[in-house]
């Protein structure tokens, strides 16, 4: 019953998508560029069908309707309500439906906002976006149908992977999807701008909001994912340069570059071709990342069902998308001339794009190179954190300095008039860095330079903010938040990286172990029965004699029944100064437990700074005066 209703809604979506394409095409063929009633009508029906099908799937998960294969495979009656709902996108089929929902939502809103000003451009955008939607809908219905029925109906489901049963991970996919699926709208708009010979300035104005919105959500999605990895995976790290993380970072670099260069196009009408290319590759890299991760070519926790036919379909679709968009781009190349002065905001924005392309190239090459060596030389290599740290870290130094100076420079032509504050800030940054390394702990040359340049960025941003407030001149709050946030983020990441302490040891109940100035005492072990798992809880005392504190920490080992899994829950004591982090795991055939004990300074600052950075885009869109 539910399966049939779901399928009818999906067919309704596909029919309305097809009709939108058909009616829009007619309107474009007649060259009337008239927005007919039926286009508006079918657009409304399309979004209704798509949202209804998604709500229906949520309904099926909430009421545990195991007649649906997707529900049976990913849910269980004993699961808390919250995780029944998040289970909707915790699997391939449901997440594809979420993907389509976001594409349709963005398409609808873009159309509503833009069809009054430039009808030819918005009609072309609508048609391109709906061709993409159609492609994904066909994929959904024939190859990943969330409403697929099983007979006879099972009485109980298989349950959701316990490591996905977590609040951060429940909101991580929708946030990330709003980011990189949202980028589909400026992919379509870019193709439409070329086809409709749209003016660069108008194009920039129409996509700017969407770039900023998707950038902010992409950033939030990445942050929430890292927070989850930090406390749930029990490794104490928050960024692993894993293929999945890289797949989310590559579109983020494109979006960041685009969010900056689109301003040049808006204000000066330059860099049109470059903005078009960035708009195209953002969505292309998003789909490529999804393809690599989902298909299992790159091994990761995001690999759901390992089905070759799915991979093949996405690959063909992706190739068609890249091929046709770039043919359109090169055939109708727009001749844009630009006339920049060396010291101007435009140049600094080009600088931003230059660095972004370097980071993108590094991450891209690092991610796909293992595939390349395997195919060509039959050798497996691993490209991990040491590679990325070594290549990326030194280039952060000039980048941070560019970032500090850029916002202050004026459009068209500007001069460095104020050398004095510039030098005062440099001296201050050097001094603070000196104090940190003198009183806390010294670190290597590159770390020194990164700390100095991030301090330079922080102080410079603050100084600009204060002078702007004093003189009551125009203040770009969005750029202030993001740049300041990024400076703080890098500063604390480097300090955290250098000051973290880790200990790995085996311990029995009742034992006390001494490490340096600290003492770890394993008091006892108890077992508790919880909602859908049993917990083995360790009771530890951590005593620091030097800093004089005593902390109680209770890491857990959780034993889930459906499906049968063990998870290791970290115990974290968090304050503004540091996180004290403890995980324990059992050792087979022994009454010893392996514990990992870590002292990680400034973790809260890292999260706060990351949120501050991400807030910039939303501030610009929603608080603009």
């Amino acid at each position: 019953m539910l399966s049939n209703t779901g399928n009818i809604l999906l067919i309704g979506s596909i029919v309305s998508t097809f009709l939108i394409i058909y009616f829009t095409y007619q309107s474009l063929k007649e060259r009337s560029f008239q927005i007919k009633k039926n286009i508006i009508y079918w657009s409304f029906l399309q979004i209704t069908f798509v949202i209804a099908s998604f709500l229906l799937l949520i309904f099926a998960f909430v009421f545990s309707d195991f007649s649906l294969l997707a529900v049976y495979q990913n849910s269980h009656t004993a699961k808390p309500l919250f995780y029944k709902i998040s289970g909707v996108w915790g699997n391939h089929e449901g997440s594809m439906l979420l993907w389509i929902n976001i594409m349709v939502l963005f398409s609808y809103l873009f159309f509503v906002f833009n069809n009054k000003t430039n009808s030819a451009f918005s009609l072309y955008t609508l048609v391109v976006q709906n061709i993409l939607i159609l492609g994904f809908l066909i994929f959904l219905i024939f190859d990943s149908n969330p409403f697929f029925k099983i007979l006879p109906t099972p009485i109980e489901g298989l349950g959701l992977n316990p490591i996905l049963q977590d609040p951060a991970l429940a909101i991580h996919p929708p946030l990330l999807y709003l980011g990189f699926v949202g980028s589909s709208i400026y992919f379509s708009a870019a193709v439409a701008a070329i086809l409709s010979n749209s003016n660069g300035k108008n194009f920039a104005l129409s996509i700017k909001k969407w770039v900023l919105i998707s950038w902010s959500f992409q950033s939030l999605g990445i942050i929430v994912g890292s927070i989850w990895a930090y406390y749930e995976l029990g490794w104490g790290g928050f960024w692993f340069w894993d293929p999945v993380e890289n797949a989310s970072l590559i579109p983020w670099f494109c979006m960041t570059a685009l969010a900056h260069s689109v301003l040049v196009l808006e204000k000066r009408n330059y860099l049109y071709n470059w903005v078009l290319i960035l708009s195209l590759i953002t969505f292309i890299s998003s789909v490529t990342g999804t393809f690599l991760v989902r298909s299992g070519i790159l091994n990761s926790v995001h690999t759901f069902a390992n089905d070759p036919s799915r991979g093949l379909y996405i690959l063909i679709f992706l190739s068609l998308m890249i091929f046709s968009s770039f043919i359109i781009f090169f055939k109708r190349r727009i001749n844009d001339q630009f006339n920049l002065n060396a010291i101007s905001k435009e140049t600094f924005i080009l600088g931003n794009n230059w660095f972004m392309m370097f980071y993108l190239a590094t991450v891209f090459v690092g991610t796909i190179y293992p595939i390349f060596t395997q195919v060509l030389y039959n050798t497996n290599i691993s490209v991990g954190p040491p590679f990325y740290n070594q290549v990326i870290a030194p280039i952060l130094i000039p980048f941070l300095i560019f970032m500090a100076v850029g916002p202050k420079i004026g459009w068209v032509k500007s001069k460095f008039i104020t050398y004095k504050p510039f030098f005062i800030i440099i001296v201050l940054s050097l001094l603070i860095n000196f104090l940190i390394s003198y009183f806390l702990k010294s670190y290597n040359l590159i770390s020194n330079l990164i700390v100095i340049s991030s301090l330079f960025l922080i102080l410079h941003s603050l100084k600009d903010f204060i002078t702007n407030v004093k003189s009551n001149s125009y203040l770009n709050l969005a750029s202030f938040f993001s740049h300041l946030g990024f400076g703080i983020l890098i500063l604390f990441i480097v300090l955290n990286h250098n000051f973290s302490e880790e200990f790995d040891l085996n311990i029995k109940v009742g034992q006390t172990k001494k490490i340096g100035n600290m003492e770890i005492k394993f008091n006892n072990l108890k077992i508790e029965n919880r909602e859908n798992y049993n917990a083995v809880i360790g009771d530890f005392n951590i005593q620091d004699f030097q800093r004089n504190y005593l902390k109680k920490l209770n890491p857990e080992i959780r034993v889930y029944e459906n499906p049968q899994t063990l998870t290791f829950e970290s115990a974290i004591n968090s304050n503004l100064k540091q996180d004290i982090y403890l995980t324990m795991s059992n050792i087979d055939g022994s009454d010893f437990y392996n514990i990992k004990f870590q002292v990680k300074p400034f973790m809260l600052w890292i999260w706060l700074a990351a949120f501050l950075t991400a807030s910039g885009g939303l501030v610009r869109v929603f608080l603009k005066k």
């Binding site: 190239a361 490209v383 290549v391 010294s442 880790e502």
Partner: protein, 123 residues
């Protein structure tokens, strides 16, 4: 102004005198564990993993350290035994040269394009 310049110089000198070499808080063993892949896990390092394999490798690495091997020798020993897949930092050799070089090619090319544009404009 002269005073500031001297102060500036003193601070620069101080900073670069303090420490030019890395000083890691974590022991050399943990540092090595972090650069090794746990071959039986999904994208975890030896430091992070709870598996038996990771426990074995930890013992091997600690043994090697106590025998006096340095970091590089340990990586080489392990890659010979388990293949290059186990080390997270690929060696710079013929096969991996493009991996290490291509990011810088992009950096130099981008810089060159921007530079060329401004030089042409000045003429």
């Amino acid at each position: 102004m002269l005073f500031m310049k001297t102060k500036f110089l003193i601070i620069i000198l101080l900073i670069f005198n303090i420490n030019l070499s890395a000083n890691e808080n974590i022991g050399i063993d943990t540092k090595i564990f972090k650069n090794l892949r746990c071959l039986v896990c999904q994208g975890q390092t030896i430091a992070e993993s709870n598996s038996d394999f990771a426990q074995t490798i930890k013992i091997v690495v600690r043994d090697k350290i106590s025998q006096g091997s340095n970091e590089k020798e340990i990586y080489e020993f392990l890659s010979e035994k388990y293949g290059e897949w186990i080390v997270y930092k690929p060696k710079f050799n013929y096969i991996n040269s493009l991996l290490w070089i291509s990011p810088y090619i992009v950096l130099i090319l981008g810089g060159y394009l921007i530079f060329k544009y401004f030089r042409k404009r000045r003429q």
